[in-house]
Amino acid sequence: MAAASASGSRGGGLNMVLFYVFLILFVLVSVAPLLWVFKMSIVVKTELFASPPTFLPQNPTAASYGTIFGDERFQKALVNSTIISGVTTVICLFFGSIAAYAIARLRFRFKSIVMTLILAISFFPGVAIIAPLFLQYRTLGLIDTYWAAIITDTVFALPLTVWILVAFFKELPRDLEEAAQVDGATTLQAFRKVIVPLAAPGEFTTAILTFIFAWNEFLFANTFLFDANTQPVTVVIPNFATVYTVDYGAQAAAAVTVTIPLVILVLIFQRRIVSGLTAGAVKG
């Protein structure tokens, strides 16, 4: 763990080599299963289950990708997933940020209670509340609409959002609001104009985590959403199957297809995750 140092260490050649070896190893381990699944998506059906397994595809084919992209349900599901995840992320960020700010920076009682209350939903196993939630949504007429999934995802993502942002806002120097208020800003204006930009790394981190969480959510989407109009990819992918057999090639192709955009999303936003305070934006 000699590489553990936030400011460039002058440990010398060996250090650097170890560092890069560690990094390469880590990247390989992270990506290897995805590569294997990619291989599953480009092999012929009979090779999928070759025993012993083959490492390189013998007759690569794009048939599985043809299957999934030719499938209307899958295309609609991609749109549905994007909508559900996007709206969930926006709502979470919006409500979560203002709640986190209040907890982190404003004075009021009951803070611990509120924080714990917000956390409460994370204590409950999702499988246990499917039936009552279904009843609730049915009563409100929200079954089989995006909102059933969005609300549920939001409720489960809010705790993490709030807690991350509370930790983040607390790190910001105290004088920021005072400086702003000296300039005549209200609490909310100070929040919007000064705090939010500085908390960008926290916001983007939370946004990515929330988006991915909603994107991958299966249990609730499976129960509350009934057909191609609203079902996200997590529900549609396992249905590349019949009651007898499963089309693993197509499922692998779909898995690759839905992972790539997420990775690209992260690539685009990864700079935002790390820009910020280390630039020394706020000096006492």
């Binding site: 025993s51 609409t145 609490t187 109009n229 396992p238 249905n239 019949t242």
Partner: protein
């Protein structure tokens, strides 16, 4: 800190409130608008009057189901319209979804394409409709007896058989020949099967002798039922389903045979985590001599993309019998059931009549290899040609099936049965102990239930 309070306190407070209010209101309006747009899709009752109804079933990539629906809608245009709602491909999840919707008191499904093990479970709480009026005894005679029995609970008929399944033995005729055995006389007893499997695998170098489904899941229960039934045992008394008969010498003999498959080396240890997928792939890749599986395998055999071996290399036979027993086949298949709370029962039943008529069942047999449930079709030459399995296995096999226990609490029973059977296959649970445990557990389930 104190600077943020006092002083500008009051006016700040009021200004903030108004702004917050506008923000909240704006969000609310936007939310409501979004709700309108994304709409209340398919929620609420399906159709209601006007002969529209919703039919639920798992995915069917072959397209024969969509074709069926289209034909129906075409034939009854203006009168009835069927909408096909695709359910999860996993039968357990499909069942869970149905239960969740029925429990909530309202489902938009009018007609259910259901698994053969569901009727009793859905009939007991009153979720599906009694079909005695619509589907009288005379009509029932035209169908195979096994599926009809599985649709009957407490003496009343609750479903109409759609297509059926039976466990079969497939084997590699070419490997048998290579080992010097006669490919036209497949083993007729389990002992024979074990001997042949080991012998042929050794002689030809095949990876596995005999594969079946022994993982801790529903498929294992069917396998177990077959072993027990082939030794003339039973799990529940066939005449009185509240009596548990699994702790009997016959059943124990069956379970002993099941355990001996791995113990005597005819099957690989891994069958204890095989489901249909793993076992079928072992066979299709040419790595197994014998396999016990459903008829759908034959369709895969005929597809060069799915199988490395050809149909000419494969023979189909009824499952072996136990010592002094008989050959039985586990019953599978799918049936039509009606949602008791539906407003469109007449329309839905029209679809049932349509789909179970000889013409449509024949179409599904020819197009998708689905086994018909009408007895007359088993003498139709075209059907016999299109579904070679029937001819090869013998039409009588497909007509002499044994169902899994028929009980409103089958889900609980299935959990226990699968667990014990899996233990038997693994060699962890001795057959006598498994039978005794099951006797106790199943009796308790029946008592608790009533």
């Amino acid at each position: 800190m104190a600077k943020s309070r006092g002083g500008r306190g009051a006016p700040l407070g009021r200004r903030i409130s108004r702004r917050r209010f506008i923000q909240i209101a704006g969000a609310g309006i936007a939310g409501a608008a979004l709700l309108e747009v994304t709409g209340c899709g398919g929620g609420g009752g399906g159709g209601g009057g006007g002969g529209e109804f919703t039919f639920s079933f798992g995915p069917d990539p072959s397209g024969s189901l969509q074709e069926l629906v289209k034909r129906f809608n075409g034939q009854f245009e203006g009168e009835y319209t069927a909408t096909y709602r695709e359910m999860p491909s996993d039968t357990g999840q499909y069942f869970n979804q149905l239960q969740t919707e029925f429990q909530s008191g309202q489902s938009n499904i009018d007609l259910i394409g259901g698994d053969v093990i569901w009727p009793a479970q859905l009939a007991a709480p009153g979720y599906i409709a009694d079909l005695s009026d619509r589907f009288p005894e005379e009509d029932q005679q035209a169908f195979l007896p096994g599926p009809i029995e599985s649709n009957t609970y407490d003496g009343t008929i609750y479903g109409v058989p759609w297509f059926t399944d039976a466990g079969l033995l497939y084997y590699r005729t070419d490997l048998l020949e290579e080992a010097g055995l006669d490919p036209n006389t497949p083993p007729e007893t389990w002992e024979d099967l074990k001997a042949q499997a080991t012998e042929v695998a050794e002689a030809t170098g095949a990876q596995n002798g005999f594969v079946f489904q022994g993982s801790n899941y529903e498929g294992c229960v069917v396998n177990g039922v077959e072993y027990i039934g082939s030794h003339r045992g039973s799990i529940l008394d066939p005449n009185d389903s509240s009596v548990v008969t699994v702790d009997s010498p016959e059943a124990i003999a069956g379970l002993t045979t099941m355990a001996s498959m791995v113990a005597d080396g005819a099957s690989p240890q891994a069958v204890a985590n095989f489901t249909e997928t793993e076992s079928q792939e072992a066979f299709l890749q040419g790595n197994a001599v014998f396999i016990r599986i459903w008829p759908f395998l034959y369709g895969l055999l005929e597809d060069p993309e799915a199988s490395t071996i050809r149909p000419e290399q494969v023979g189909v036979a009824p499952l072996p019998a136990g010592e002094g027993g008989e050959s039985v086949a586990g019953l599978g298949g799918w049936n039509f059931m009606l949602n008791a709370a539906s407003q469109n029962l007449d329309a839905a039943y029209e679809f049932v009549k349509f789909a179970t008529a000889p013409e449509q069942q024949k179409f599904r047999a020819l197009e998708g290899g689905f086994l018909p449930t009408l007895q007359e079709l088993y003498e139709d030459q075209e059907v016999l040609d299109a579904v070679p399995v029937i001819k090869l296995a013998g039409a009588e096999t497909l007509q002499s099936t044994v169902p899994r226990p028929i009980s409103p609490y089958y889900s609980d029973m299935s959990l226990r049965l699968a667990e014990q059977f899996n233990g038997v296959v693994k060699g962890e649970t001795p057959p006598e102990k498994a039978a005794a445990t099951l006797q106790e557990q199943l009796t308790q389930i029946i008592e608790q239930g009533s």
